[in-house]
């Protein structure tokens, strides 16, 4: 009979090209070790609740009531749920077309999209149209949908920062497009230099690639840098000149750990720049309930907002969304709750603020602890985590270590991370999974382990690293930028 229909050889080549290191080799090895009984600290993915962060109480109360509306009829419901949670549950149920179990509008519940629009308006100072906001099963699905619209073939290029969150590289591979990298400057705190952009675009065009879109991740992943307003203006100008649609991944907008550069949305800057730019540059902005101080990864809730896309294109995107019928309704309610939070005077307000601030302040402290911890290690240099959830230290591997990696048939940072895992149980993602300059190595870890565990984790890392460096040291000839 020969090759079967789904033998490896007959698989879609694009699928084979896909790589997603966040759940790749290191994670699989860590899972194996865990099964064997080793204690593993999973810092490979931004998954706060998996590392002990508790869900915020109020949203869980509201969604539980929406799941079981018969509770609302029970006279004793007030014994378990506060009045504002009960009121909110009734509010969201009234917005659905049959409770949590009915497909909603394929773009998401209109009432929730309205709340998202109001949130955007409050945040930016410019009105937002609910008709141009689509809720999705997580921001990742939204990114895939938009890239699917843009990429026609391998002749279409998407500008992606290096290092990047590998959803972008994986999706571009899957869709058969071309990734056009632009390098962030590690020595300038992972800053974005427009000249790097120009060079990347020029090179791509020389190869015959039509550059169609530019991805920015702000705050950055894995790098954590927060873009300044000036930077955003430069980027938007660039997109205007080069006729690119700007894809603004802003899922970490609540995670800001310094005060010099607060979060500014790409849309706000775009609108500030006034016509013609504000009316012509195409922008799609992404947000989620998975990050911030909510960390509700498991709900799969997100949205994208479209700016300056022609109505017919919006219709086509709607059509594609309708094939998937609807995003999951409980996550839509989480989204509504996130963008339409409690107010002073609400019964649950103080508890909500206490929980939220507790998480954010702790994240800020952990960002500092981790950065300082890495910088105290031999041959390790680490930029400060200005935002997001990760630390991305540079590991300057001595030549002997790189040789050992080669012998083991592994990329140097994979070799290092595997050794780190085996020695300490710390499961990270090698920098090669995100992209980095040739010959420069990193690893990505999250700042999410519990604060009380941090000192032990950092000293465990330091012990491993410094011993590793001593073992492979060879007279100052290290890998470095």
């Amino acid at each position: 009979m020969g090759l079967k229909a789904l033998d490896y050889e007959t698989l879609n080549e694009n699928v084979k090209k896909v790589q997603y290191a966040v759940r790749g080799e290191l994670y699989l090895r860590a899972s194996e070790l865990q099964k064997e009984g080793k204690k593993i600290i999973f810092t490979n993915v931004g998954n706060p609740h998996a590392l002990g962060q508790k869900p915020l109480t109020f949203p869980r109360q509201v969604v539980a009531l929406c799941q079981a509306p018969f509770l609302l009829d029970d006279p004793n419901v007030g014994l378990l749920f506060p009045a504002d949670a009960i009121a909110r549950a009734k509010h969201y149920l009234s917005l659905t077309s049959g409770g949590l179990g009915a497909y909603s509008d394929s773009r998401g519940i209109p009432g929730v999209r309205k709340e998202v629009a109001e949130f955007i308006e409050r945040r930016d100072g410019y009105p937002s149209d609910p008709e141009l906001i689509f809720l999705t099963d997580g921001a990742s699905k939204g990114v895939m949908q938009i890239l699917n619209c843009i990429i026609r073939g391998e002749g279409d290029g998407i500008l992606v920062p290096v290092p990047q969150y590998p959803l972008y590289s994986a999706t571009i591979s899957l869709l058969g497009g071309s990734l056009v990298p632009y390098y962030l400057e590690e020595t300038a705190n992972w800053g974005l230099d427009v000249n790097n952009l120009r060079e990347s675009v020029a090179q791509a065009r020389f190869k015959g690639i039509t550059v169609r879109a530019m991805v920015i991740i702000n705050p950055g992943n894995p790098t954590g840098q927060c873009l300044s307003e000036a930077n955003l203006r430069e980027i938007i100008n660039f997109c205007y000149q080069e006729n690119l649609v700007l894809l603004g991944d802003e899922v970490y907008q609540q995670n800001i750990y310094q005060d010099e550069r607060p979060f500014i949305s790409a849309r706000k800057v775009l609108m500030d720049m006034g016509p013609p730019i504000s009316k012509e540059v195409q922008l799609v902005s992404f947000h989620t309930v998975s990050k911030g101080y909510w960390g509700e990864c498991g709900q799969r809730g997100g949205y994208f907002e479209m700016t300056n896309l022609p109505p017919q294109t919006v219709d086509e995107i709607y059509k594609i969304a309708s094939i998937a019928l609807s995003p999951n309704v409980p996550a839509q309610i989480f989204m509504g709750l996130m963008v339409n939070p409690l107010k002073p005077g609400d019964i649950s307000y103080e508890q909500f603020v206490r929980e939220s601030q507790g998480i954010l302040e702790s994240l800020r402290r952990r960002a500092r602890i981790m950065t300082d911890g890495f910088n105290s290690c031999k041959n390790v240099v680490c930029n400060f985590t200005e935002g997001a959830m990760y630390s991305f230290p540079q590991i300057r591997l001595p030549p002997k270590a790189m040789e050992a990696a080669k012998q083991a048939g592994k990329v140097p940072d994979v070799f290092y991370c595997l050794k780190l895992l085996e020695a300490t149980g710390i499961s990270t993602v090698p920098g090669s999974g995100f992209g980095q300059k040739e010959g420069v190595f990193h690893l990505r870890t999250t700042i999410l382990p519990a604060e009380e565990d941090m000192p032990a984790i950092m000293s465990s890392f330091k012990k491993f690293n410094d011993e590793f460096m001593d073992q492979y040291e060879d007279n100052w000839n290290h890998s470095r930028m």
Binding site: Q67, A68, N76, G101, A102, Q282, S322
Partner: protein, 531 residues
Amino acid sequence: MRRFVIGSARSLIERSRQNYQSQRPLISSSYRLLSSTPAADSPSSSSSTMAPPVALNTINPKVIECEYAVRGEIVTLAQKLQEEIKTKPDAHPFEEILYCNIGNPQSLGQHPITFFREVLALCDHPTILDKSETQGLFSADSIERAWKILDQIPGRATGAYSHSQGIKGLRDTIAAGIEARDGFPADPNDIFLTDGASPAVHMMMQLLIRSEKDGILCPIPQYPLYSASIALHGGTLVPYYLDEATGWGLEVSELKKQLETSRSKGITVRALVVINPGNPTGQVLAEENQKAIVEFCKQEGLVLLADEVYQENVYVPEKKFHSFKKVSRSMGYGEKDLSLVSFQSVSKGYYGECGKRGGYMEVTGFGADVREQIYKVASVNLCSNISGQILASLVMSPPKVGDESYESYSAERDGILSSLARRAKTLEDAFNNLEGVTCNKAEGAMYLFPRIDLPEKAIKAAEAEKKAPDAYYCQRLLTATGIVVVPGSGFGQVPGTWHFRCTILPQEEKIPAIVTRLTDFHKSFMDEFRG
């Protein structure tokens, strides 16, 4: 021969000329560029400004090509009319829109299964499990089940990304449920939990389709997820016709014929989609029929994609649901003999939890290297929503005899299923009573797919309005009665025949009024257009 060679050389030259034109070499970046716009005759490129990157003529043409009628044009019109009634109640000759276009039971008043919702609520807010008041508000077995599930989730964190195939303990439960259903073992590692069955279908199409030369055999009529997904992934839909005259029978001879025809056109047929119970057709396959299908796939080296989301919706005593996994195992076929992907969902059955987006695919008969690739694709999206995963495990492992909630659960379940069976029969009879309309029985699923013999005059009127005749009929039905159904052309039909799909889901007390309105409309339509 010479002419052919010249002709193909000419077209080769033409193609490379077009390629050259669409690629521009290095250009100064200070100019707004034309390279993002293909040479197109659209209004925007005729002016001096260029088409923006995301405009209709510059987006992925596969997106433009694909269609999904279930939420298509007629629904947009219905929503418009609904808005009009809200502001002006007298605007139309009906008080409300009745959405019979989509299998969305809870939007039409069907209640969720209480036990399932109890467990889900407790998993959403586990803090209350420690409170004594909870015992008074929730059944004891729902509390017990919630504890059991939470213990299977690392850290009891329902807000954390899970394993990309879904939480292991829940997959164990589902595998046990599959084994209890079929009498043959299931491996939890074969299960991929997804946000509904639809994303799982997309994943398989992505793996199978390399180019337009790859074909997927699909039933006609079919649920248009398949045609849309194949279009999106750039493949070719190879149709096989179900036989309306024999209750939408699936003949292997028809499969063979279509397979041979497409192969002769240079198509590599990769898989066979079978929807059982059928959508929109509602037929439940006989076991002998299923065996022949399995044999066919084995011989031809096709992946069998078994859409079994309606497995709990069977309304006739003479038919039973048999999973293709069970059928193939009962034939003695195992992993080495047949590549089979079985899809299940929480959206249908008696639970109807569409909004939760829960489902799974069970993947058997693939090598480890292929399984790795499936896992890899699943991992890019990290995981499906946890609440949906929990629900999938509940659906495959509901309360048993002796459980505290068993009686209320089975009463709810049987109530819904018997009501669905009654509504299926009532509507089937109503359609068969209409002039020029024949309607096969809905043995299962949630739909009726009547065939209308449209008079010549009606077809001409449709053409005048540039509409397909069945779309025209459906639009007239909507504007006269407020009832929304989906034209048969959205599902595929034998050319020259016309159908529409109507769900059996409106609440039972509304059915008589629906029948009356429909009957009256049809009569006046036929009066208007009868020859």
